[in-house]
């Protein structure tokens, strides 16, 4: 029996119930480290998982955290990828006194083979705590907990032996992430993995060396279902879309109507919602009312369709997105801090997503970065800069022409700040010439 130094009655209550218990899992790792059948010479204290449970129990008792922010720790030459973390009760919990986090740039789509996973696990077992986050909210693999001296060692081994780099943290490009896209999903309108990988590689310098006013995120959703939530949490959100007709398989539509195929890919199967009613469930819920069904043929009036995905989600075997695909780019999403949450704003209604992505790099990403680095205040996200200086400025920077697709509605005040060059003759006028016709 492996011993546990700390009594943990409160968190032990999280070891029952159906959902997987993280407490049990941390205990399992402690046991594995203590038994140590492979005779590993642990480089982060062997009992760290036990002490971590102890810290957590103390927090449960106090209702307060026992971690301090880490100050400056990192690997030489990089401004991000490591988050320093110290325990505020180091005497009680010496094995986690220094317990820093590493962010490891995840493979796109979060696909792994067990060989690569084992190489990561072997490294992290030997040099770190044996605890991870799979994955952090940004998408990185998170290695939770190691001592300061191990940071460089882990980085060295990872780059030399695993051909693998850290991810981003701090005021830089954060590790880009993507939805599974074309790898498994028939809704994908472009290859999310490839562009995510290529842009990650292109902008390694921006990712590792903070030179921005604040963090910057790209995220890639293959379609408007937005499985990686790009529209809510990225400075540039790529959302797959198409310009031509939704492809319709009329026979499959009939099969849905006839009840041969379950609607929405079987998503509602655990409850009896009655027979599928195409009129009510598809035609009636289409937000633009651009669909019709005469009992025999389904029609979609393409120019009216806003590509919301509802009909395709309900009848994936009958409807497929068009073939002229690309993405809509939206800008400036952020969490509430500081001026309130912002959803990303449509700035490029449609762009082709084709390697080597020159138009996206040269007309969109790089001019926006130049503008933001020039004008952005410290800790001002792109979305806040756009709000402060106006959407017009975004268009000026990217060179895309203003079109009504970019807005919900036109302005309801007439306070247009005309630029001098937009008004014939400019602003400089001769008052004496004016006075010839208008008395003082």
């Amino acid at each position: 029996m492996v011993e546990f130094k700390h009594k943990t009655p409160m968190i032990d209550e999280l070891e029952t119930g159906p959902w997987t218990s993280f407490v049990t899992d941390i205990k399992r790792e402690h046991e594995s480290r203590m038994e140590n059948p492979k005779g590993i010479d642990f480089q982060t204290p062997q009992k760290c998982c036990d002490d971590l449970l102890g810290v957590l129990e103390l927090s449960y008792k106090h209702g307060r955290t026992h971690w301090k922010h880490g100050g400056i720790v990192g690997v030489f030459g990089y401004g991000g990828g490591v988050i320093g973390r110290y325990c505020d009760q180091p005497e009680m919990f010496p094995a986690v006194a220094h317990f820093h986090t590493l962010r490891i740039n995840q493979p796109m789509g979060h696909f792994y083979d067990t060989k690569f996973l084992e190489s990561l696990m072997e490294l992290w077992e030997r040099r770190g705590s044996g605890l991870t986050n799979m994955h952090g909210s940004t998408g990185d693999i998170i290695f939770i907990g190691c001592t300061t001296v191990q940071l460089e060692e882990i980085f060295y081994e990872m780059t030399h032996n695993l051909n693998q780099d850290l991810g981003g943290s701090g005021s830089n490009l954060r590790t880009p992430s993507d939805c599974m896209g074309e790898s498994m999903c028939e809704f994908a309108c472009y290859d999310t993995q490839e562009i995510c990988y290529q842009l990650t590689m292109e902008y390694q310098d921006e990712l590792h060396r903070p030179a921005f006013p604040y963090k910057f995120k790209f995220k890639f959703d293959g379609c408007p279902n937005c499985c990686v939530a790009s529209i809510a949490r990225s400075d540039i959100s790529f959302i797959g879309t198409w310009r031509d007709d939704i492809r319709i398989d009329q026979e499959a539509v009939k099969a849905y109507v006839g009840g041969e195929i379950k609607p929405n890919a079987g998503a509602h199967a655990s409850r009896d919602w009655g027979a599928f009613d195409i009129q009510k469930e598809v035609i009636g819920l289409c937000p633009t009312q651009c669909m019709s069904w005469d009992g025999n043929k389904l029609e979609i009036n393409t120019p009216e369709c806003t590509r919301c995905m509802h009909c395709i989600n309900v009848m994936p075997r009958a409807l497929r997105h068009g073939l002229d695909t690309g993405a809509s780019l939206l800008f400036g999403a952020k969490a509430p801090i500081l001026d309130g949450a912002q959803m990303a704003t449509l700035g490029v209604p449609f762009i082709k997503i084709e390697s080597p992505y020159d138009e996206i790099k040269e007309k969109v990403i790089e001019p926006i970065w130049d503008w933001w680095m020039e004008e952005g205040k410290n800790r001002e996200r792109l979305g806040e800069l756009i709000k402060r200086q106006g959407m017009q400025k975004l268009l000026e920077v990217t060179g895309f022409k203003a079109i009504p697709q970019m807005i919900q509605e036109p302005r309801s005040n007439p306070y247009v700040f005309w630029r001098e060059d937009e008004v014939p003759g400019g602003f400089k006028r001769d008052i004496n010439e004016f006075r010839k016709y208008h008395q003082r």
């Binding site: 959902w19 997987t20 218990s21 049990t24 209702g63 044996g130 939770i144 460089e152 030399h160």
Partner: protein, 384 residues
């Protein structure tokens, strides 16, 4: 424990240094069936909760079993996942954006069903599933969350614990697809919201309610005061002189308390400004957000419960309140209607009535410009 060098020489950090190599190329990790059919998938069908059949134009079929994962995962657990992947999936496995694990079985439905039985038979000593299957379709998927008391310095509650408690209570909705539409729950342990909780059907948010304390005797020794001043997003912190009981004058700061939004950024910069507090800290519940563009635009979650005290280890008030919202929505909403779409259709006044939630002045927005647009500028409303 003896220090073992990797080969890195601290005296010459640039020697043999490799940098800027990025992640491994994802294609190395595609199972062959994905390499072959990428971009040529025809359709998918959820055979039963948690099990998806994906059919390609080539006729190839891939069976995907989705299991819940704790985001916090030990390498022993990951090694068990690897052992399963080796046995059933030719050594490939993936994670979803919501911390689920997907086992991909090519071609054989029988093998997938054998895998299902295997997964469900694996339990932790306390009886919890190691690999709960579900999270597809009109269900509640895994709760994405942040670090909490396990590893962050500004949380107002725990993340893994609130999530475990909530998923235990909502487990039936994870395992089944009984809801009108999918329902996404997210958790963030302070208002910095490292996860995208602000657009979830239901969001659990840790919130502090007391401004930082100031450790005046130590602050000038432990912190760069200008950095602490600059860290405050609302400009609530000013440099100030302070006189200690023994008469010594020290450089410190003062906090304009009514301006403090309890974000903890000062504590990030300066450990002499802690704000965690047993009574002050707790939970905010938000509801009605969504990310998808399906039918209507993405929406922010709205605050529907301003504060619930921390009741660790299982947060019963929080979980019963969440359960009540889920059950009310489930009984009342139309098929395909997300929680926020339902609330907007019936009206938020009805939402509070039906979900038996108390409305208080805290729930009226008063934060900067956007607040006005959330008040009602019409005489149309419903009596409750």
């Amino acid at each position: 424990m003896a220090f073992i060098s990797s080969g890195y020489d601290p005296a010459k950090p640039m020697k043999d240094r490799i940098t800027d190599i990025g992640p491994r190329y994802y294609e190395e990790f595609y199972p062959p069936i994905i390499k072959k059919n990428k971009g040529k998938w025809l359709y998918h069908e959820i055979l039963e909760p948690g099990i998806i059949e994906r059919v390609a134009e080539s006729g190839d079929k891939l069976y995907v079993i989705r299991v819940g994962g704790c985001r916090l995962m030990s390498i022993s657990h990951i090694r068990e996942i690897m052992e399963i992947a080796d046995k059933y999936c030719d050594g490939y496995v993936r994670w979803t954006t919501r911390n689920n694990v997907e086992f991909m079985v090519p071609d054989s439905k029988d093998k997938a069903m054998a895998l299902k039985d295997d997964l469900l038979s694996r339990k932790q000593p306390g009886g919890c599933y190691k690999f709960p299957i579900g999270g597809t379709g009109a269900s509640i998927s895994n709760i994405v969350h942040t670090q909490g008391w396990i590893h962050c310095h500004t949380p107002a509650t725990d993340a893994s614990g609130t999530v475990k408690a909530t998923l235990d209570v909502l487990f039936d909705q994870w395992e089944n697809m009984k809801l009108p539409a999918k329902l996404r729950v997210s958790m963030a342990c302070c208002l910095n919201m490292c996860g995208a909780v602000h657009c979830s059907d239901i969001a659990i948010l840790g919130y502090h309610r007391k401004p930082p304390m100031i450790d005046a005797e130590y602050i000038d020794k432990m912190c760069e005061i200008p950095l602490a001043v600059a860290a405050c997003p609302t400009g609530a912190i000013k440099p100030a002189k302070y006189e200690l009981p023994d008469g010594t004058k020290v450089n410190s700061v003062s906090v304009n308390e009514p301006r403090c939004m309890f974000c903890g950024n000062c504590y990030t910069m300066c450990p002499s400004m802690p704000l965690a507090d047993t009574e002050g800290d707790g939970i905010v519940l938000m509801a009605g957000g969504k990310i998808s563009n399906r039918i209507d635009a993405p929406k922010f979650s709205k605050v529907v419960v301003a504060f619930i005290p921390n009741e660790q280890p299982r947060w019963p008030t929080m979980t019963t309140t969440i359960k009540r919202m889920v059950d009310t929505y489930s009984a009342d909403a139309n098929k395909y209607e997300r929680l926020g779409q339902w609330a907007e259709r019936i009206g938020w006044e009805k939402f509070f009535e039906k979900c038996e939630l108390e409305f208080t002045h805290h729930l009226i927005d008063d934060f900067r410009d956007p607040a006005y647009y959330t008040w009602r500028q019409t005489s149309n409303f419903k009596f409750t």
